[in-house]
C-alpha cells in the first residue's frame, strides 16, 4: 500500500485546522486538465467538511507533457513567500489555458507580489528546488498520475468525483476521530 512520505509538516501548504480528523493531500500539476477539474471538487469537499478537514497541496509537475507546469509551480511558491500561496493556487487553476510567463507575472501582480520579485523568481528558478522536493516526495509516496490524493496518509485509488471524495474523506474523519 502506497503511503504519504514524508508526512505533512509545518512547511507544507495547509488549509484547515492541524487537529482535523481527516487530512486530504493532493499532488497536482497546474497545467493538468484533470487537476483543473479537481480544483472545484476539492473546494466543495472543504466547504462540506469544514473544520473536520485539513487540506494540503504539493507540486507534481509533469514537465514533459505540460511545458508550463514547472514555472506555474515556481510562481505558486513565490506566492508562498509573500503569504499568497492559496490565492496564486486558485488563480492558476482558474486560468489553466493562460500559463505563459507574462500571464504568471500578471497573476503575481494581482495577488500582490512585487513585480521585480516575480520576475526574479522566474529568471533564477529560486523556487525550483522546493518544487523538486515536492515532486520527489510524490514519487516516494507512490503518486501514479495527476491528481493523486492521499487521505490520512494512504493513497486514494478510488474515484474522486465530489460524492466519492466526500464519502472517502468522511470515512477517514470517522476513523481519525476514534484514534
Amino acid at each position: 500500500m502506497s503511503r504519504l512520505t514524508p508526512a505533512v509538516t509545518d512547511s507544507d501548504h495547509i488549509l484547515g485546522p492541524p487537529n482535523a480528523p481527516a487530512t486530504l493531500v493532493e499532488y497536482g500539476d497546474y497545467e493538468c486538465p484533470y487537476c483543473g477539474m479537481a480544483f472545484p471538487i476539492v473546494e466543495a469537499v472543504r466547504r462540506r467538511m469544514g473544520d473536520d478537514l485539513r487540506f494540503v497541496f504539493r507540486h507534481f509537475p509533469l514537465t514533459r507533457i505540460h511545458p508550463h507546469a514547472q514555472h506555474a509551480a515556481e510562481m505558486a511558491e513565490a506566492g508562498a513567500e509573500w503569504g499568497k500561496f492559496w490565492q496564486m493556487h486558485a488563480l492558476l487553476y482558474q486560468n489553466q489555458q493562460a500559463l505563459e510567463d507574462p500571464d504568471l507575472l500578471l497573476y503575481a501582480a494581482q495577488v500582490g507580489i512585487p513585480p521585480e520579485e516575480a520576475v526574479t523568481a522566474l529568471r533564477t528558478h529560486a523556487f525550483a528546488p522546493r518544487v523538486r522536493e515536492h515532486f520527489r516526495s510524490g514519487v516516494r509516496s507512490g503518486v501514479n498520475g495527476t491528481p493523486t490524493f492521499f487521505i490520512n496518509g494512504v493513497r486514494h485509488d478510488g474515484e474522486w468525483d465530489e460524492p466519492s471524495l466526500i464519502a472517502a474523506v468522511q470515512n477517514a474523519a470517522l476513523e481519525g476521530s476514534r484514534r
Partner: protein, 169 residues
C-alpha cells in the same frame, strides 16, 4: 467484474529470461547486452490508452531519479514499432518502447505478464540487477497505475547501490 485467472509474474531471484525486441524500425534491444546496469521492465497493456499514458508519462518524468541508480528503463507492449514511435513522439518519451509484436506477446508470456484472454500485456514491473537476476516484480490491477515508489525501493536495495549512487544526496 473480472474473473480471469491472475497472472503470476516471475518472482525475485529468478534469472531474467533473455530477449531481443525491436525498439524501432531499424533498432533492437537485447536484454543481456545491458548487463552491468540495473534494468527496469515496464509491461503495459497498450499505447494510447488513457491510463497507460499517465503511467509512462510518470515514469518518463521520474527518469532522473532512476538514472541516479544508472538504471535503464524499458517499456514493453504488444504494439508495433510504428505505433510505438508515434506514441513516444507524442508524449516526448525519453526511454525505448519495445514491440512484443511477433510472435505476439512472447516476452510478456515468458515473464508471466500476459493476459491471454485479452491478448495484451499485464501492467507489470520488474527490476533486474546488474547480473541479470530479477530482484523485484509487481503486478498491478490493469486499471490502477503503479507509482514509481516500488521501483525506487527495489533499486535502493540492489547490492552495489552504494558504489554507484551512495554519494548522491
Amino acid at each position: 467484474m473480472t474473473v480471469a485467472p491472475a497472472s503470476k509474474p516471475l518472482p525475485a531471484g529468478t534469472p531474467a529470461p533473455d530477449f531481443t525486441l525491436p525498439s524501432g524500425p531499424d533498432s533492437k534491444v537485447r536484454l543481456s547486452e545491458l548487463r552491468g546496469k540495473p534494468v527496469i521492465l515496464v509491461f503495459y497493456p497498450a499505447d494510447w490508452s488513457p491510463v497507460c499514458g499517465d503511467e509512462l508519462a510518470l515514469f518518463n518524468e521520474v527518469l532522473p531519479e532512476f538514472q541516479r541508480y544508472d538504471a535503464q528503463l524499458l517499456g514493453i507492449s504488444v504494439d508495433g514499432v510504428w505505433c510505438h514511435r508515434a506514441y513516444s513522439d507524442a508524449r516526448h518519451l525519453n526511454f525505448p518502447l519495445l514491440a512484443d509484436f511477433e510472435p505476439k506477446g512472447a516476452v510478456s508470456r515468458a515473464y508471466g505478464a500476459y493476459r491471454q484472454q485479452d491478448g495484451f500485456s499485464e501492467r507489470a514491473l520488474f527490476v533486474i540487477d546488474r547480473d541479470g537476476v530479477i530482484r523485484w516484480s509487481y503486478l498491478s490491477p490493469v486499471e490502477v497505475n503503479p507509482g514509481a515508489d516500488g521501483i525506487l525501493s527495489a533499486l535502493e536495495q540492489l547490492p552495489s547501490h552504494a558504489a554507484h549512487a551512495g554519494t548522491e544526496s
